[in-house]
């Protein structure tokens, strides 16, 4: 960013913390950008003539006489069709050189869509993974995160979902991503020949953490351009939102805010909601679907980050290692897609809702039987059958390596019911049992 002739240059910084600097300045607007000794910063607090700036890259090496220039505008992104196929950093500057994108300059983190102008999401996104399509169907315009421990292959599953989803644009917002993971996504998109549909905003672990705070807004501003202006179906992938929240905590801590649960800022819910609520089905047909990743620590979903996320998003997909089959499965108990009711049994076969519930219930019976077994009790005949069913259900349907269409998933479930249970044991409406029992 070059300085303009009329801009005033300040050279006396009063206070420096690890993430912020403050100085005396006048005529400064809230949220506007500034450059501090060549580093990008944003106004976060103004008290009289004392202005506090958050320096995205951190304040290492900034001296009290560093030049401070205010830009007079909040962070912006130039939006245009030229975004497609490009990779950017957190500031929206092209990585690997290349010409800047031509187009309109828009403020990031813009206004909310009027709830009354939204449309109800109704289009199913098929992923081929039965743990998702059968039990937790995703709908366009939905926002849903993967809850996974760091050792699980969440980025791979998310990439698979993205490639199979038939979206017009896929926008990747990478926060604190390792360079290896970034290259994985890049190669995958290249090999799949979909680069022209991809836009990436990436903050890798090599970049300063506070920069991450810009990534979701950048990605979603680009998404709103394609969805609202162009009427396209946009899929936004955000990974990893836990690292985003950690950056929020760093900043609020530096600003002496009183932390609430788990050292997170009291505004965590609103901060995350501002991002996730950008998911929308528009009347024009355009839509923004957000699939995010929230990494957990030891599967703990009561931590403030997954907990607040769960209250905001429309469900969550929970990955788990299944010890019976040795595969990674989409956990049917803890996973949920809140919007599935809008499509299952309507856009899919009529028996979908009941088959889904019955299978999960029987799987839960098996979990009960397993506890019994572990406690050293004899198993009843029903318990034995439930356990055998659970193993095959896990292998043929819950596992993330499944790739079949929904009707096939339903048929597979019916076949498993017939193999292990009596008709009266599945508690499904009898007319459906008569029609589909294998």
């Amino acid at each position: 960013m070059t300085t303009k002739a009329f801009q005033k240059i300040y050279t006396k910084i009063d206070n420096i913390t690890k993430a912020t600097v403050s100085l005396r300045a006048t005529g400064v607007g809230n949220d506007e950008l500034a450059t501090v000794g060549g580093h990008l910063a944003q106004v976060v607090k103004i008290m009289g003539d004392q202005v506090t700036l958050q320096v995205f890259e951190g304040t290492e090496g900034i001296s009290t006489d560093a030049e401070v220039v205010f830009h007079g505008v909040p962070p912006t992104l130039k939006v245009g069709d030229g975004l497609a196929g490009r990779f950017f950093n957190a500031y929206g500057e092209p990585l690997e050189g290349g010409a800047p994108v031509e187009g309109e300059e828009r403020e990031i983190g813009g206004p909310t869509v009027n709830p009354f102008r939204r449309r109800q999401p109704s289009e199913l996104i098929a992923t081929g993974i039965a743990g998702i399509d059968l039990n937790n169907t995703i709908v366009s315009g939905q926002k849903i995160p993967f809850f996974a421990d760091p050792d699980q292959p969440y980025n791979q599953v998310m990439a698979n979902v993205a490639l199979r989803a038939k979206a017009d644009k896929i926008i990747l917002g990478g926060m604190g991503m390792t360079n290896d993971d970034f290259l994985y996504f890049k190669n995958l998109f290249e090999n799949a020949g979909v680069l022209d549909r991809i836009v990436c905003f990436v903050n890798t672990t090599e970049n300063p953490p506070v920069e991450r705070l810009l990534v979701p807004d950048m990605a979603l501003t680009a998404a709103e351009y394609f969805a609202a202006d162009k009427g396209e179906k946009v899929l936004v992938l955000l990974t990893d939102m836990t690292l985003y929240a950690d950056a929020l905590a760093i900043v609020s801590n530096r600003m002496d805010q009183i932390p609430s649960k788990d050292s997170m800022p009291g505004s965590l819910y609103s901060d995350l909601a501002k991002i996730y609520e950008k998911a929308v089905q528009l009347p024009s047909g355009g839509s923004i679907t957000i699939i995010a990743v929230t990494t957990l620590s030891g599967g703990d979903i009561t931590h403030a980050i997954p907990d607040n996320t769960g209250y905001i998003t429309e469900g969550q997909l929970f990955l788990r290692n299944d010890t019976d089959t040795g595969k990674v499965i989409v956990d049917p108990f803890r996973s949920l897609s809140r919007l599935k009711q809008l499509v299952i049994g309507k856009k899919t076969r009529e028996d979908h809702p009941q088959v889904m519930n019955a299978a999960v219930r029987l799987y839960s019976d098996a979990a009960g039987a397993k506890t019994k077994l572990e406690n050293g009790f004899d198993l009843s005949d029903y318990d034995e059958r439930a356990l055998a069913f659970a193993k095959e259900y896990s292998d043929k349907l819950l596992s993330i390596d499944v790739n079949i269409d929904i009707t096939e998933m339903l048929d597979t479930a019916w076949a498993l019911f017939a193999k292990y249970f009596k008709k009266s044991e599945v508690t499904i409406k009898s007319e459906l049992v008569e029609k589909y029992w294998k």
């Binding site: 809230n30 206004p111 009027n114 939204r118 209250y311 108990f333 508690t427």
Partner: protein, 582 residues
């Protein structure tokens, strides 16, 4: 002369204003930025500095910006034309906003000032009236909307003149009232009321004495909520709070429903926008939307307006209560409102209480719940506001400040359990932790004796005991093993499972099962209890589980079929035959 001031400091949406003149706590002011006026509310005054919370984004705001104080608190506009509107937290009509995005500072009228209403007077010239008395009425959709003496008029007045019956817009002066000093006051169909104050235009607030049907068995049968009562639904995410609240909003036996979507997902409100205009209200035959008003401040809308939204909802509910209507107010979720309070308190650098919530959280919550209730009006009619809020406890832990504070204030407690949700036992209302204090009210017991059947509460208690015993039996079986306990334990456990599957669980997505009227609830509960009272004496526990699984399956089919239909009778006789075999 309005007080003015200048912006002195900005911390996110808290703005410090150096004032020139008097300001009052909770006064509304406007800050002009980039040509638009941002509404804000005074929340703290120190010396000449007023701390105001801005109901919008403060991006680009500069020091020295002009601020104008309005001299009144945040007010709701009360007039015909509110029912079936969709408002934001500050009562702007969302439908009137043309653009796709809500631009900063957008304001729209809450009601239509041009629309003509068919007015007819109810009072007579010379009548002595006080605040809340009915002067006339207009037909708002299917509701006889009373035009009242404004709640802000505090003494008694003599009616000097009244408009004749005719077609008028809301600004028409429909009455002139003379006060004790002989001064005249003009009354139109519109009045304003500060949302944070309770409307007290009633003669008495008795204890609730009847129940409000919701069509949800786990509530109506097990823990009914009173008409004019209060209740809350805490539950971790994914436990089905919203689905349950939507079910109640569709089925509850109320004249009007006010739904406050407070800091929750926009798509949930969209669901109501999409469905309610097409769904029929089973009791009146009108469309559901014709009895529903939505106040919507979704989670990405400005935080400060979240707090305003619950108060706006309550004020509208109280307004319609004063017309003698039964109003049900639903708020999802009150935790978001508490979090908004926390964000403000944090920015004001107040000393925090538990989990960084403000110290007075508990009193704020209880004074809000206290605004609900059944009231006797001066006209002799009764009106009620029933309030049901959801709470989203952090980490699903019910020992957190919002749940604990609410527990002190609300009379019904519907705890949603993660364990039940995980095993897809919906609605996930925990039968043992949940309670309704109303079952202890002698008035309610009498009401149930009269309206359902003699001894109903006793029978319900028997059902609850059965569920508790079943749980104890299940624990014993888990510890000692299937063979390690007497077969009676299995029988006990399976009877509780029967009650759980048939009465407590309900399929909110099945057309028939979703809404269970009270007569059907009585029939089903009596039937299940009859089956449970019999002692079966199985020889083997396997026989016991097989028998009850079969029974549960048949009862489930019963729940899915039209009551009193041929099919229903068929399943019923199958059940009776099965029970007779043992």
């Amino acid at each position: 002369m309005k007080t003015t001031g200048k912006v002195q400091g900005i911390i996110s949406n808290i703005v410090i204003v150096r004032t020139e003149g008097a300001v009052s706590q909770n006064e509304i002011c406007y800050i002009t930025v980039g040509g638009v006026k941002l509404m804000a509310e005074v929340i703290k005054v120190t010396g000449k500095d007023a701390y105001v919370q801005v109901f919008d984004s403060t991006r680009g705001l500069k020091i020295g910006t002009e601020v104008e104080f309005e001299g009144h608190m945040l007010e709701a506009t009360l007039a015909p034309g509110i029912i079936s509107r969709n408002y934001d937290g500050l009562q702007n009509d969302l439908e009137r906003m043309e653009s796709l995005f809500i631009e900063r500072g957008t304001k729209t009228d809450p009601i239509d000032y041009e629309k003509l209403w068919d007015y007819k007077p109810l009072a007579k010239v010379g009548d002595i009236v006080t605040a809340g008395d009915w002067l006339g009425e207009v037909q708002e959709l299917w509701v006889a909307h009373k035009i009242m003496v404004p709640f802000t008029m505090e003494e008694s007045y003599t009616i000097k003149s009244l408009a004749e019956a005719g077609e008028y817009n809301v600004n028409k002066v429909v009455a002139v009232l003379t006060d004790s000093k002989g001064e005249d006051h003009e009354v139109t169909m519109v009045q304003r009321w500060p949302v944070k104050k309770a409307i007290k235009a009633y003669t008495a607030k008795p204890r609730p004495s009847r129940i409000m049907e919701t069509g949800v068995r786990a509530i109506d049968t097990f823990n009914p909520i009173a008409d004019g009562g209060t209740g809350f639904i805490p539950g971790p995410f994914g436990a089905g709070k919203t689905v349950l609240q939507h079910a109640i909003s569709k089925q509850a036996e109320a004249d009007l429903i006010i739904m406050v979507a407070c800091g929750e997902r926009a798509n949930e409100v969209v669901e109501i926008f999409a469905e309610f205009p097409h769904l029929d209200d089973p009791r009146t035959g009108h469309k559901l939307m014709e009895r529903t008003t939505i106040i919507c401040n979704t989670s990405n809308m400005p935080v400060a307006a979240r707090e305003a939204s619950v108060y706006t909802g309550m004020t509208i509910a109280e307004y319609y209560r004063a017309m003698g209507l039964k109003v049900l107010l639903l708020a999802d979720s009150t935790s978001r409102w508490a979090q908004a309070l926390r964000e403000m308190s944090n920015r004001l650098e107040e000393l925090p209480g538990q989990d960084a919530f403000p110290m007075d959280l508990s009193s704020i919550i209880s004074s809000f719940y206290a605004r609900a209730g059944l009231v006797h009006l001066r006209s002799g009619a009764t009106g009620s506001v029933t309030f049901l809020g959801t709470v989203s406890p952090a980490g699903g832990n019910l020992k957190e400040p919002v749940t604990e504070s609410t527990k002190k204030a609300a009379r019904c407690f519907y705890a949603l359990s993660q364990q039940r949700a995980d095993s897809k036992r919906y609605p996930a209302i925990d039968p043992l932790d949940s309670y309704s204090k109303y079952l202890e009210y002698p008035e309610i017991v009498d009401y149930l004796d009269e309206h359902i059947e003699e001894g109903w509460v006793k029978s319900v208690m028997e059902g609850k005991t059965l569920v508790r015993r079943g749980k104890e039996a299940a624990e014993q079986i888990n510890i000692l093993g299937d063979d390690g306990v007497p077969v009676e334990y299995h029988e006990m456990f399976w009877k509780s499972e029967l009650v759980d599957f048939v009465i407590l669980q309900q399929d909110a997505f099945d057309d028939i099962d979703a809404n269970c009227p009270i007569d059907r609830q009585k029939y089903m509960f009596d039937f299940v209890m009859e089956v449970c009272r019999k002692q079966y004496g199985f020889a083997e526990f396997e026989d016991c589980s097989a028998f009850f699984k079969n029974l549960i399956n048949l009862f489930k089919q019963l729940n899915y079929t039209v009551w009193k239909s041929e099919e229903f009778a068929k399943y019923e006789s199958e059940i009776r035959a099965l029970v007779a075999t043992k």
